[in-house]
């Protein structure tokens, strides 16, 4: 007869029938380069999905916190420590991984591509334009779409995009970034007006250099106005948003 589980308040199987699941984290790491939103992907080396792009993920260690695992993966892959990271959703269809029952928790992350050196020649790690990615390994295409949707919603209300930009940037760069993420055109005057009203920016009194036209002013993100690490969980939501 089956051993009665400590989970008898749950169900009727023995413990060993249940403790057979693996947990992974998959990170959708967004970056911004050449006026395009990009995502960090790697060629999959599993036979079933040979040659397809996959997200950066890893199994969570038996005693590791999920969030700790996601920071670890990010650190291992990008070398970056202090990045924006946020849990999005958990995916766990029974057939989603060929090696067995693997549940994955999806996180999205925003990094400044220029701030770190990937060993891009190795292991086919690669920044891929988000708008131009079709098939992926496992259910990673669905995970990417889900994270992209979440990103689009949150940048309307929270100052997340600064994680994708260098410390100094022009308003044009900022607007191009919003346009790239939202995949739309924005009105320049309204965009500028709104950002100044929101008080997210600090004027550095510096100008762009080496641009083949009139140089724009440079700004930095108004950190002090928000917590140290700007997280989507901070309740600094504004009533107005960055819509057209």
């Amino acid at each position: 007869m089956k051993k009665i589980s400590r989970f008898s308040h749950f169900g009727e199987l023995g413990d060993k029938d249940y403790f057979r699941i693996a947990l992974s984290v998959d990170c959708v790491i967004f970056g911004f380069e050449d006026n395009e939103l990009k995502v960090l992907v790697i060629k999959c080396n599993l036979n079933e999905y040979k040659g397809k792009w996959s997200l950066l993920g890893d199994l969570v260690k038996p005693d590791e916190d999920i969030e700790t695992a996601s920071y670890r993966i990010l650190k291992e892959r990008t070398g970056l420590n202090d990045v924006y990271l946020e849990q999005v959703r958990t995916f766990g269809k029974p057939g989603r991984h060929p090696a067995g029952r693997v549940i994955t928790v999806a996180y999205f992350s925003l990094v400044n591509i220029k701030n770190h050196k990937l060993k891009l020649s190795d292991n086919e790690l690669h920044w891929h334009p988000v708008n131009d990615i079709q098939e992926m390994a496992f259910d990673h295409r669905e995970i990417l779409q889900c994270c992209l949707d979440q990103l689009r919603e949150k940048i309307e209300d929270y100052p997340l995009v600064f994680n994708l930009l260098p410390g100094k940037f022009s308003l044009r760069e900022l607007q191009c970034l919003y346009e790239a993420i939202l995949n739309t055109k924005l009105d320049r005057r309204n965009f500028r007006k709104k950002f100044f009203m929101m008080d997210w920016l600090i004027d550095l009194d510096e100008l762009e250099v080496d641009v083949p036209h009139r140089p724009g002013k440079l700004y930095k993100f108004n950190q002090e106005k928000f917590g140290k690490a700007v997280s989507g969980m901070d309740r600094n939501k504004r009533t107005n948003s960055v819509h057209r």
Copy 2:
């Protein structure tokens, strides 16, 4: 030497070191009764949390989809089939369950309390007022709060609350429900105006009965305007919301 895992693209442990996690679903089942928002809880029978309230949860079966599991739990506990259910977040701190590493996916659900008969005397299943619940077993207090926050955000934009009401209801009942969830007072005239503008309601040309005052008109939810099952995933978001 350690067997090399099929997850060699992940890490370096053998498979058996990883496939030792259990997965559960916890449902935060909200209801509305006596002008209060309530949550369905049960007395915990684990020694560690003896007597504390806990959410309704169960382990996900080895080959069961997570979402399927959450519907199963809901069906088992409330007898209801066609309910609103939405994944919120996954909780997995290593020490959160005394029986081992148990990851839990939290769902919130909205049901009409009157539509089903709980065996309330059994197993201490109980509708508890949300505003009046303190300690809970495991990390369930945190899970409840997280789901409540999500509920509050979504009812501003999506027609979810109708899942908590009977088929016919008055505008007063609807407003009381919003006030209970948001824990605030709303202006009656503005509330009515907004709902009519949003076109979420159909006037049934019937009146309340047995009220000790002038009876109000009865309405039903405008189903046709939305998909069959109204889900928060439906992109029927309106630009205006139900704020004050």
